[in-house]
């Protein structure tokens, strides 16, 4: 499909949602680098009814070769539900559920908030976070406060959001591993067996972001301006978020060590104390470690899906092939966490 057709589709959706006037026109629509499970486009609109300055939006697309078979409609509904919560999320403006669109799948439009995405696998970005931690700690304060706010959302406002308990979550990701694996991996298989032998006592369910790390937030002038990438959100055990963010991978370790800080943001003890002060719940790190293993296995399944698609010629995106080099570090994380 042509760029013009994509621009027309985005503008039509904005008009139908009442977010763009009849004289609005697309100034630019450019695909951005990020996005493995979703494609993102930067959309600039000129809309005389809403002022003379270009209005900045993001078009978020679930492509047919997505590495995640998750519902873009749920993601749209979560963004909409969180608009009134003390969590920085962009406003959303219309959802097109059809698979047959000029973007190659369903899409919605949301505001483009100020700020930059932090890449913890880049040394200078980790240094920025470490300087903030050594100074005002404003990023760490926002990071923990936003997580506590996510976990405090009234579940009654989240109609239709996927709910899964521990065992169902483990079986879900194991099923995907089995479906997409091209090579048997004894580290992964043993880790799943270990998780099923160590089911934690359940706690009251909350909204779980599911991919909570600083790289999925925007940072603007030392503050978190947005929490993004809700495609893995569910109603479940909040301890998943603690575990996932504590993976060395989430702190920027690839083949070389990353940040010594939890999630490249804060010292673990400080984070745990702040979270407890904000939420009233103490973090049990032994249970969090169990969820860290599950988080690593989730990444195996997601990246394994991309590799599977690439091997079958169903996506040309070479980043999916590159992700097989993430596996050795995740195996090391798993072996360390379980204590082999």
């Amino acid at each position: 499909m042509s760029a013009a057709a994509r621009a027309d589709a985005a503008l039509e959706l904005m008009r139908a949602a009442g977010a763009a006037g009849s004289a609005a026109r697309v100034e630019s629509l450019v695909q951005m680098e990020g996005g493995w499970s979703r494609h993102t486009y930067a959309l600039d609109l000129l809309d005389p009814e809403r002022g003379s300055a270009p209005r900045r939006y993001i078009v978020r697309v679930r492509p047919q070769d997505s590495v995640l078979d998750t519902d873009l409609g749920q993601e749209f509904r979560i963004f909409a539900a969180l608009a009134e919560e003390p969590i920085p999320v962009p406003a959303v403006h219309g959802y097109e559920p059809s698979e047959d669109t000029p973007f190659g799948g369903p899409f919605f439009v949301m505001d483009r908030l100020p700020g930059d995405a932090v890449n913890v696998w880049r040394g200078r970005d980790r240094e920025l976070l470490e300087r903030n931690w050594a100074g005002s700690r404003s990023i760490a304060e926002d990071f923990v406060a936003d997580l506590a706010a996510i976990h405090a959302v009234d579940l009654g406002r989240l109609d239709g959001v996927l709910a899964r308990d521990y065992r169902a979550t483990v079986e879900h990701w194991r099923g995907i591993y089995e479906d997409v694996r091209l090579v048997r991996d004894p580290v992964v298989e043993e880790a799943y067996a270990w998780l099923l032998d160590h089911e934690p006592e359940p706690i009251a369910p909350t909204l779980v972001h599911g991919d909570y790390r600083i790289g999925n937030c925007l940072v603007d002038d030392g503050r978190l301006s947005a929490v993004l990438d809700w495609e893995l959100a569910s109603i479940g055990d909040r301890r998943f978020d603690f575990g996932y963010m504590s993976l060395d991978y989430s702190a920027g370790r690839f083949v070389a060590p990353g940040s010594p800080l939890l999630g490249a943001v804060a010292e673990e003890e400080w984070f745990d104390r702040r979270y407890e002060a904000l939420s009233g719940m103490a973090i049990d790190r032994s249970v969090a470690n169990l969820y860290a293993v599950l988080g690593a296995l989730m990444l195996f399944s997601i990246m394994g899906t991309g590799i599977h698609l690439y091997a079958r010629g169903e996506t040309p995106d070479i980043r999916t092939a590159w992700s097989r080099f993430v596996f050795p570090g995740l195996r090391r994380d798993i072996a360390t966490l379980i204590g082999w």
């Binding site: 680098e33 004894p186 083949v255 590159w322 596996f327 195996r331």
Partner: protein, 142 residues
Amino acid sequence: MFNPLGADELIAGMGRTMRAAARAEGPLDDFARGQLLSGASIAGLLAAELASREALLRRTRRRLGEEIAAAGADPTLDAAAGRIAAADDGDQLGAALGDLLAELRDGRDPELRGRLLAVLREMTELELAALAGERVPPEAGR
């Protein structure tokens, strides 16, 4: 060690990415630039992996074989040791070791199981170091 996509598939993919970039009209957008950078990253990582692959495979096979032999004679273990010794690549080694560890989940020899998992952990450390450009030491981790 147990990584999908072989060197041939990765090299072919890098070629497709380079060709697509060369044929693109106009300046590259961020997405296309990211594709090229990913291809360049694969080239470096694959070179490191290939430089250490055989040594890591040999060492892991030997260490697993030693631990199984130390557990004493047993037809199941002997068969597993044979499959592991004959494994030509990570795919075959992963299948042989995966089957053995699954059998040992019944609790018959928790000590052996623990030692095999320790070998797996050594392997993960060495593989990561090798990707960072370090040579796999033949006796490391013993």
